[in-house]
Amino acid sequence: MKFDNIIIGGGLSGLTCGIKLAEQGKKCAIVSSGQSAIHFFSGSFDLLGKANGEEVTNPLESMKSLPENHPYKRVGLDKIERLTNDALHLLVRSGLNLNGQADRNHYTLTPMGVMKPTWLTLSDFTSFDQKDSFPWKKAVILNFSGFLDFHTLFIKDGLKKFDVHAQIKTVSMKQFDAIRKNPSEMRSTNIAKEFDKENAIEEFAQKANVLSDGFDVVILPAVFGLFNKTIADKLKEKIEKPVLLLPAIPPSVPGIRTQITLRERFQELGGTYLLGDNVEEGVFENGRLLEIRTNNHGDIKFEADQFILASGSFYSKGIVATHDKLYEPIFGLDIDGDSNREKWFDEKIFNDQAFMHYGVKTDQKFRALMNGEPVENLYVAGSVLGGANPLKEGSGAGISLLTSLHAAEQILK
């Protein structure tokens, strides 16, 4: 099967890359062994939240202080601003509604009740300009009875710091009776499926309106709109007070919707999305990757002019650790990381862990290195790249989006 470009990994980077290339008329395929990290998304795309231990207000400015091998630096700071715009437009064209800008972080409230800096936030969620003030004085935090994955007391505690008077109330809905009977299934995506059917939203809004009488804002878990893309807006219309949604324990309802939205965009552009298939190995000749073999397709080879590796970090098995080594499991590419496992970890879990920086080694053009030599037509993008701790920096989605767009541009050149 012949394509112009084949992308390994269907997460945020793979899809961004695929959409960009398909928009330019390329015949693309994405092969993904399973669902990706977008399924756990908080609802915000981070660009840079922290640099050198300091909280960042202007990511574009603060990027200058990052180390030289940081992916942003390797993309080139001269290109970054343009790429951030491209990324935003690509996401908007795909059908996502987003707020935020690259030269000034805004804040979102986490389920621990603290403000976190970020770049682009789905319009479901509320973006705050200030980190130390909260626009409302009296908040009602609503939870569904029996729902353990939303931590109302933590939120209430967090809001104390903003001098907000918060009260916790629970709502009972007979639509959830069935899932509540199952001890492992009163979870956010199952609640969302009930709301998706649209027959619960009216009743819920009525209850919420009664319970929020006398309060300025209604705080709810983000369980609205899994497959149904309009339900979150309907909810906000029907509730008389402003609604503040906060993430619950993953999987994330808005995250899954985001994944579906991007995947559909890619498919509408003619892209082929193969889920549940693992890329097993590649055939190389003269420093070029000719074709890849996958688990499902066996002897039917997948050929392309260029390939993009967007297979994610450890969590997605883009890189693998065993007791005595680190490796990239598909092609055996060079790894930027220490093979001595004693170097991987810090004994304090909240410290900067070395392994979070590990990834596949590339040349300046983001082409993968194999035995020290670049593979001419194999680009690397997203969290499979090393050189940064996206968790500590708050740069996860930013690195994925920008390095994928950068890779796509190299291909389109």
Binding site: G34, H39, S184, T189, H297, V320
Partner: protein, 419 residues
């Protein structure tokens, strides 16, 4: 580079331990969504397996509510074979004995042989109200179900009488695993396959003796018998593939999936020697075209708007791309790709009275999609999906091979390789 060089020592080999508890699988399980009595893929699969290893008493009969659709496996980012774990647990731990009804439903070939012999009688009988009542109340086969009609002239008989001789005229040959459905209920599909393969220059042969692939036996817990049939089939496939160098193709995604994957994973029947050369006809044809070894010529006047439904096992195999690619090659076809969703029948599952409601609720989103798609008909690779969709929607269903058979210009196609 070969993966073996890495030799991941002390990384778990126990597939269920790869689970990182992300809970994604439960989002995509069609049963969980409609039946809260089901513990869900994560609990039934990796979590439950660990408990069962502690104490088999943790086995829960509710696991039989699993459709074995494998949609959880497709979604899992960690490569956990959740469906296999659940089915294996049923095989290993279930104490409940299959009911008479389950035996009847499971033995598709024996029942088929009897039924097709007396086809007119059986067909009218199962359609009669009193008979259906008995089936419903005594056998617990849901009365809403229409039984597929049994044919009077079995495919095998037809083949021996009318087609066998002609197949020798070709230079290249394949074997055809037709499966029970083609044999007893819908020989036309087999005839269509022969038409298409002949056009492509291949003679089509039957296996020395094929037995039902056993998928229904497995899902109804008749494991001994399933294993026996699996062993028989693997031997029959070997005779074709290894001895005669003839690949085996099939038109049923479920049969081929069972033979390739469930035999080794669930029944422990080894199939390495035959696995690669056992596949679907659409994949076989696609490969020929992809490698430039075959060109198909289509009729000018074939114009249809068709929706393709991806059966669960095709989703798992990842092979719907072959069927849809072939359909897209037909100039007059406008293909609508339906969002991949389970139709709810899952073989014999939906025939059981206790599952009827679950089955229909699972399928509802798909039925809605179909009703809204305004197509001439639906295409799909699985016969049970066909029954379910035809029963539950106003749409007719055709197999991609039958569509090709209708759209192909046989003579022009043959000319291309004959010269």
């Amino acid at each position: 580079m070969k993966k073996e060089i890495f030799e991941p020592y002390n990384v778990s080999d126990n597939n269920f331990e790869q689970c990182v508890k992300c809970t994604i699988c439960t989002v995509y399980c069609p049963v969980l969504e409609v039946n809260p009595d089901y513990p869900g893929p994560k609990q039934s699969g990796p979590d439950g397996e660990r408990m069962r290893l502690k104490d088999p008493e943790f086995y829960d009969e509710a696991l039989k509510l699993c459709l074995n659709c494998k949609r959880c496996e497709v979604a899992c980012p960690s490569g956990v074979k959740i469906g296999d774990i659940i089915q294996s647990a049923r095989i290993k731990y279930s104490k409940s004995k299959p009911k008479l009804r389950d035996m009847i439903l499971a033995n598709t070939d024996i029942v088929g042989t009897m039924a097709s012999t007396f086809a007119p009688i059986v067909n009218t009988a199962v359609a009669l109200k009193p008979v259906r009542k008995v089936m419903d109340s005594v056998l617990k086969i849901d009365h809403h179900r229409m039984f597929p009609k049994y044919t009077g002239l079995r495919f095998e008989t037809w083949y021996r009488r009318y087609a066998e001789k002609k197949q020798q005229e070709f230079k290249k040959h394949v074997s055809y695993f037709h499966g029970c459905y083609v044999n007893y209920n819908f020989p036309q599909q087999g005839k269509d396959l022969i038409k298409v393969m002949n056009a492509a220059g291949y003679g089509v042969h039957l296996l020395e003796k094929e037995k039902c692939c056993g998928v229904a036996l497995i899902s109804n817990g008749l494991i001994k018998q399933a294993t026996k049939q699996a062993k028989h089939n693997v031997e029959a496939f070997k005779k074709s593939i290894v001895d005669k160098k003839m690949p085996v193709i099939s038109t049923s995604s479920t049969c081929i999936f069972t033979i390739r994957d469930e035999y080794p994973h669930l029944l422990g029947v080894k199939n390495e020697e035959i696995r690669n050369d056992s596949e679907l006809a659409t994949r076989f044809l696609f490969r020929l075209i992809d490698e430039g070894k075959l060109n198909l010529v289509f009729k000018k006047n074939y114009k249809k708007r068709i929706a393709y439904h991806t059966p669960c096992h095709m989703e798992k195999l990842g092979w719907s791309i072959y069927s849809t690619s072939l359909l897209k090659m037909i100039p007059g076809v406008e293909l609508v790709q339906l969002e991949s969703q389970c139709c709810g029948i899952a073989g014999t599952y939906g025939f059981k009275k206790e599952n009827y409601q679950t089955s229909q609720e699972v399928g509802k989103p798909l039925f809605d999609q179909i009703e809204n798609s305004k197509v001439d008909f639906v295409a799909t690779d699985c016969e049970t999906c066909k029954w379910q969709i035809e029963m539950s929607t106003s749409s007719k269903v055709q197999h991609p091979i039958s569509i090709l058979a209708e759209a192909i210009d046989v003579e022009s196609t043959m000319k291309l390789w004959q010269k």
